[in-house]
Structure formats: structure tokens, C-alpha cells
Symmetry: D2
Subunit: 134 residues, 4 copies
Amino acid sequence: MSPPQSTVYFRVLYADTDQMQTYYNARVLEWFERGRNELLRELGKAYRLWEESGIMLPVREVWVRFEGRAEYDDRLKLDTSVSMPSKAQIRFDCRIEQADSGQAVCHGHTVHAIVSEMGRPVRPPGWLVELIAG
Amino acid sequence: MSPPQSTVYFRVLYADTDQMQTYYNARVLEWFERGRNELLRELGKAYRLWEESGIMLPVREVWVRFEGRAEYDDRLKLDTSVSMPSKAQIRFDCRIEQADSGQAVCHGHTVHAIVSEMGRPVRPPGWLVELIAG
Amino acid sequence: MSPPQSTVYFRVLYADTDQMQTYYNARVLEWFERGRNELLRELGKAYRLWEESGIMLPVREVWVRFEGRAEYDDRLKLDTSVSMPSKAQIRFDCRIEQADSGQAVCHGHTVHAIVSEMGRPVRPPGWLVELIAG
Amino acid sequence: MSPPQSTVYFRVLYADTDQMQTYYNARVLEWFERGRNELLRELGKAYRLWEESGIMLPVREVWVRFEGRAEYDDRLKLDTSVSMPSKAQIRFDCRIEQADSGQAVCHGHTVHAIVSEMGRPVRPPGWLVELIAG
């Protein structure tokens, strides 16, 4: 079974660019956030509701490989999938490409701990495992 | 008596630039934040301590006029002064110029409400009035 | 005749929030950029094409009044309209409210010069006046 | 011989925080940029001058591990070192900790290609190799 996945489209803002006339590296992590927000919403439980259930997913690790340019107003396609590499972690894999040409822009992942509101590691509740691991 | 004032110097990052090869407009509001943080610290009570005293200063209004370019790695000079236009508000005036040439970059102000942790307007305590209004 | 207008909807990211648990003031200027980009696209000529026609619209002035909170994942509605206060300027007025409740979040405007690629003021071409001033 | 290194100190802004009351993950990449800018300046040739020499260092890869909290106004210490993993790449390793307690905040690295203004890979000039590899 393939992992849960979703796709969002968006355009590069001036705010995303830098003087090399392409996107600034840090902005990718905001795009990744948008991708995982929408994936969890589509899976049926928006991250806001995770927090209301007492589950927080602080970022523990990020990795990005930058592959191609994306200029102001380019329309980008962001694919996000989610998995559980262990009982204690959730991982989102993201891939961004030019929506029109399919040319690679960047890809990477974020790894998140599963903790309580107090920041303590918690055993993932049943709904979470079912949502992610199917 | 002139209003309390302080000066900070900083350099433009790639993160601050956009594809027009000058600073992106929103970044100025982060620079203004740095200016007012340092001014309050120099006055003797860092804003972090204001919050610990139960006083919050949410931004109610910002205004900026953009006057000149600032490119990557330019060294900028930011002057900030503070005043109380009324019993209910604190205002910071900021001016940014090129540190070397003195050429104007931008200037503006932010207006802040004086509220409790619950977001309710509060009468400014004595220490606050003394700090700002001398 | 009412001025050209458009509406976009978006959700608040963690990236937009700060420790007061509402949106950070500078992020509003990025939202305003999104609004004017989409308005110009809907009017029939995306800003990217303005630049290809040799017309740049650097920001000369911004003003924002902050009216209400917007928390992580709140869905916001942004209305943008455009006008020409003079032959040399274009102005965008923006209003953001909670999409569900209609509660005010903030409103403001940006004023832009009309310049050439070299940064020199230019007489607005016919297509521009027709697009904005109808 | 130990690799070239430098240290900068800075404070967390409200702009850096999110509603978890610690720094937002993407902001770390801006801090890393500050670190490598200052390191290259201290080594004797600011990155601005690299670009004037026709050498660009676009980011090809970033990796960050998040270890601890950093709240608004915390004073942080950022150590950056630089190395050349190959003739075609420059790598910056960054470590951020609480300036007072030494508690770990995060660490990571960025890997950069060495390219011409046209974006083509170039053989690193002598001054570059001497600067980095000593």
C-alpha cells in the first residue's frame, strides 16, 4: 500500500525570492509546512485537531536538496507523503516541481517527534497510527 | 527633553533581499522590532521583562515610507525613539539609513496598545510612564 | 464605477504565528503581496508581465491597522482593490477578515511608484491606465 | 589544523518565534546564513566580494537537527566552520546554543556549489582554496 499523499499548488511570491532571482532556501521549509498541513487535513484530521487532542509534532530534523530554480510567479506543485519510521516519529517527504514543465525544484523531508503538550514523548494514540500507517 | 533613543547597526542578509536586488518590504518590520527591543533594553527594562510584569504591547498600526535601496551585505544604521501619544499607546519611530553614506533607506513607526496578558487595555504602571515619558 | 477588486482565501501557517499565538505583524505584508498579485492576474495582466513590459511597481509606502487575532490554521479572506491616486502612483487597499465569522483581522494599503527597469519614473502606458482606471 | 571558524551572538526576535513559543524551524536557515556571512568576512573576503569575483555559492543541500528550545529574547551563540568536501563544493557546519547556559539549540550544515554568474560549475580559484583549505 502506498503511503498517504496529497498535492498542493502555489505561486512563488516576491517574498520568496532573493537577489539570485530564485527562491531563498529557508522559504522551502514554509512550503513544506503548507504541504503537511494540507495532507493531514485531507487525511481527515487537521493538525490543529491533533493539538486539541494533546498531540504535538515538533520538528526534530529537516533535510532539503535544492535542484532547480523557481522564479517569481512560477506555479509550483508540492507533493507530500507521510510515514512512521518508528513508534516515536512521523516523517513527511516533500517534492516540489514546476507545475507546467515538471522540472525538479527541490525535495526533502522533515522528521517530527510525537509529544504531549508538556513536550514529553507519548505513545501514539490509535487514531494516529491508523491515520498514518493505515 | 528629547525622547529616549537608541541606535543599532546590522547588515542586509540574502534572506532580506528579493529579486529587485534590494530589501523586501516586509523585512523592515522585523528590523523595526529589533530596534524597539534594543531601545527598551537600553532604557533599563527589556520587553521580555515588561511581559513578565504583565504588560503586553501588541502592534496596532504600522506605517513605513520606503526611500532608498539597500543591497545584500550593506551595513545599515537604525535609529529608534519611543513616545506615548496617549495614556493607552506607545509609539516607536524608526529611521534606517546606509551606515556609511547616510543615504536614507526607509522610515516609519509602529503604534502599540498597552494591554494585560488577557489582552485587556490597562492603565500604564508608574515604571512604564517614567521609563518612556521621563 | 467601483474599483477593480479580487478575493483570495488562505490559511494561517505556523510560520505566520508568533509567541502571542496570533499572526506576526510583518507577515501581513506578504499576504498583501499575494492579494495584489492575484488581483492583477484576474484583471488580465499578471505583474510578471508588467515587468516584462518594462514597468516596475516598487513599494513606496505601507500602512496597516491591526484589528483582531488570527490563529494557526484559521481560514482568512483577503479582499484587494486597486486605484491610481495620481499619474505616478498605484495604490492597493487590502482588508483581511476571518473567512467564517467575518471578524476583522487587519486592513491597510500599499502605495507603489510606476518606474522603468532603471528605476526612473515613467508615464503610465495606455494599457495600465485602462486596466486600473477602467 | 582545525578548519576556519567564527562565532556570532544574537537574540531571538518575536519574528523568529511561533505559537509553540520557541523558534520556527525555517528561521534557523537565516541564522545559518548570518553565520557563514560573518565567517567569510572574518576570513578576509566577504561573500559580496566573492560574487564580485564571479564566484557564486548557491545552496545545494541543508540539514538541521533541532535539539532544544530558544525563546523570545534568548541570547544565542552560533559557531560556524567551513570546509571543502570536494573541489566542487563548500560546506558550512553550524552549531547554535544558548549563550548563557551552553544548552544545545540546534546544529546542521549547508552544502554549496561553486558556480559562475551564469550558474555553471567552475574550478575554484586559488584564493578560494587558500582561504578555505588553508
